[in-house]
Amino acid sequence: MTAPAPFRASTPVFRIAGGLVAAAIAALVHVAIAPGEAARLEGERALVEALDLTDLALFTEARYGRHRSQADLHSAFQDGPMLAEHFPAGSMVPPARGFPPAGFADGEGE
C-alpha cells in the first residue's frame, strides 16, 4: 500500500479542529505571558504585608463576611451551626469551622 491519500472532503472539519487547537494554544500562551500580572500580584502582596491584611474584600455585603478568617464583634451566631441567613453571599459561604472553640465535633460540612 502506498502512503495514505491526503484527507479530502473531511478537511473543513479538520480546519475547524485546527482552529480550536490554535485557540487553546493561544490561551496557554496568554497564560504564560500574562502581561503585567507578576508585577500586579507582587504589588498586592506587598500591600498585604505592609498593612497586615488577613482577608479578601470579596464578601462585603454583610460585615461578618468581610473578615472570614477572623473573629469579630459582628458575626451573627459565629459559633452556631448555621446562621439564619439573610444575605445571598451567606448561601455561598459556609460557616467557618476552622477554629477549635467553634466545636463542630462532626467536622462535616466543608
Binding site: L51, A57, M92
Partner: protein, 381 residues
C-alpha cells in the same frame, strides 16, 4: 506508520467526512454541548484562579493573629497583652492592629477602617489624611487630593483628605479599605488609648509558627490564635465548597445533556442508516463501524471541550467573568473589580475533561453499537 495506525487514520477521515455531511443535524447538539462545557469550565477556572490569587496574597499575611475572646465574643486586646507577647523569642514585628467597620449610609456599603501598620513609612498618615481603596473611591466619587467625609454611628464627623487611592490591581484585598491615622481612628470610634482590635505577629522562622502560636496561647489564655495556615484553609474551604456545590448542581445539566446525546445518537436518520448499511455491505465489519463512530464522538466531544474551555477562559480572564460575578457579589454595593491572573491548572483541565467528555462518550456507546451491529440488508431495505 503501522497497519493499525493507517486504519485509524482512514477511520478518522471517514468520521470527519460523515460529520461534515450530517453536520447541520448535529450542530445544535454540539452548540448545547459547548454551552454546558462553557458554564462548568467558567466555574472551575474562576474558582482555581481566585484560589490561587488568595493563596499568593495570603502568603504575605501575618503569621499569627491573636484575638481576645470574652464570653465567646471577640474582645479588644490591650497594650498589656502585647507586652506579654513581646518576651517570646522568635516573634518579630509584633503590633496591635486597629481596624473596624463603618456602615456608610451615603454609599450604602460597609467600609473597613484601618490604621496602617507603623512599619511601612509609605503608609504613614498625618491627622486628617486618608488612603482609600478603589471601591471606596468609586462609590464616593473621590480621587487623590479630594476630601472624604465620614460620619460615625455616634454622629461624630471625620473630614479626611485623600492622600492616595490604592491601585486597582490590589482591589481584591483593599477595595473597601479606608486607612486613617491612629489619632483619627481612636477619636472617631471613641476608642481609649491602649486598646487594639487584635494583635498581629510575624515569626522569623516559618517552621516555628506552630510553636510560637502555642506559646502565645500560654501567655494569653483568653485569646484565640489564628495562624496564616488557618486563614488559607478558610479560603481554600470556602472556594472549594462553592465550586463543588456549583459543579454538583451543574452535573444535573450534564446528565440532562448526556440523555439528550443518547437520544440523538439513538435516532439515526434514514440516510445515515443507509450509509452504514452500505459500508457493511462492502466489507466493513462491526468493529470498523464502531471505530468510525467512536472517532466521530471523540471529534465532537473534544471539539466541544476545547471550544467551551477556550470560551470560558476568555469569559473569566479577558472579560472578568460577568456571568459568575453576581453569584459571589450578592447584594454588595462595594464589589472589588477583581482582575485575576490567568492560570490554567492541569488538574482543573483534567477534571473538566472527566466531567464533560466521559459522560458524553458513555451515553453514546450503546446507540453506536446498535447502529453498527445492525444487519446491512435490514437497514438498507
Amino acid at each position: 506508520m503501522g497497519a493499525w495506525a493507517t486504519r485509524q487514520r482512514y477511520l478518522i477521515d471517514f468520521a470527519a467526512l460523515s460529520l461534515w455531511r450530517h453536520g447541520a443535524r448535529s450542530l445544535g447538539l454540539w452548540l448545547i454541548y459547548v454551552l454546558v462545557v462553557f458554564v462548568v469550565a467558567s466555574v472551575i477556572l474562576y474558582g482555581a484562579a481566585i484560589r490561587r490569587e488568595a493563596n499568593a496574597v495570603l502568603d504575605a499575611a501575618p503569621d499569627v493573629v491573636a484575638q481576645a475572646m470574652r464570653m465567646g465574643r471577640h474582645e479588644m486586646s490591650t497594650g498589656a497583652d502585647i507586652e506579654k507577647l513581646r518576651g517570646l523569642r522568635g516573634a518579630d514585628r509584633l503590633e496591635g492592629r486597629l481596624w473596624g467597620y463603618l456602615y456608610d449610609t451615603s454609599a450604602a456599603a460597609n467600609f473597613t477602617l484601618q490604621v496602617p501598620s507603623g512599619f511601612d513609612p509609605r503608609f504613614r498618615l498625618e491627622r486628617g489624611e486618608a488612603i482609600i481603596g478603589e471601591g471606596v473611591a468609586r462609590l464616593r466619587k473621590v480621587e487623590a487630593g479630594k476630601m472624604l467625609f465620614l460620619i460615625s454611628p455616634a454622629r461624630r464627623f471625620l473630614k479626611l483628605k485623600v492622600k492616595q487611592v490604592l491601585p486597582l490591581g490590589s482591589a481584591l484585598v483593599s477595595s473597601d479599605l479606608v486607612l486613617v491615622g491612629e489619632a483619627d481612628f481612636r477619636a472617631f470610634f471613641d476608642l481609649p488609648a491602649g486598646q487594639y482590635t487584635d494583635i498581629a505577629m510575624r515569626v522569623r522562622n516559618p517552621a516555628e509558627v506552630g510553636k510560637i502560636a502555642e506559646k502565645s496561647l500560654l501567655a494569653l489564655p483568653g485569646h484565640r490564635m489564628v495562624t496564616r495556615a488557618d486563614m488559607r484553609r478558610t479560603y481554600e474551604a470556602i472556594f472549594s465548597w462553592r465550586e463543588g456545590v456549583l459543579v454538583a448542581l451543574l452535573s444535573g445539566a450534564l446528565l440532562a445533556f448526556a440523555i439528550l446525546a443518547f437520544d440523538k445518537a439513538a435516532g439515526l436518520s434514514a440516510g445515515e442508516r443507509r450509509e452504514i448499511g452500505i459500508l457493511k455491505a462492502i466489507g466493513w465489519d462491526t468493529g470498523d463501524v464502531i471505530g468510525m463512530k467512536l472517532w466521530e464522538g471523540a471529534v465532537v466531544s473534544v471539539g466541544a471541550f476545547l471550544a467551551g474551555t477556550v470560551a470560558a477562559y476568555a469569559h473569566v480572564f479577558l472579560f472578568s467573568a460577568p456571568l459568575i460575578e453576581p453569584v459571589i457579589k450578592g447584594w454588595s454595593t462595594l464589589f472589588p473589580r477583581v482582575t485575576l491572573t490567568p492560570t490554567v491548572d492541569a488538574l482543573q483541565v483534567a477534571t473538566l475533561g472527566f466531567f464533560t467528555v466521559v459522560p458524553y462518550l458513555a451515553a453514546i456507546l450503546v446507540p453506536i453499537w446498535r447502529t453498527a451491529s445492525a444487519d446491512p440488508d435490514r437497514v438498507m431495505r
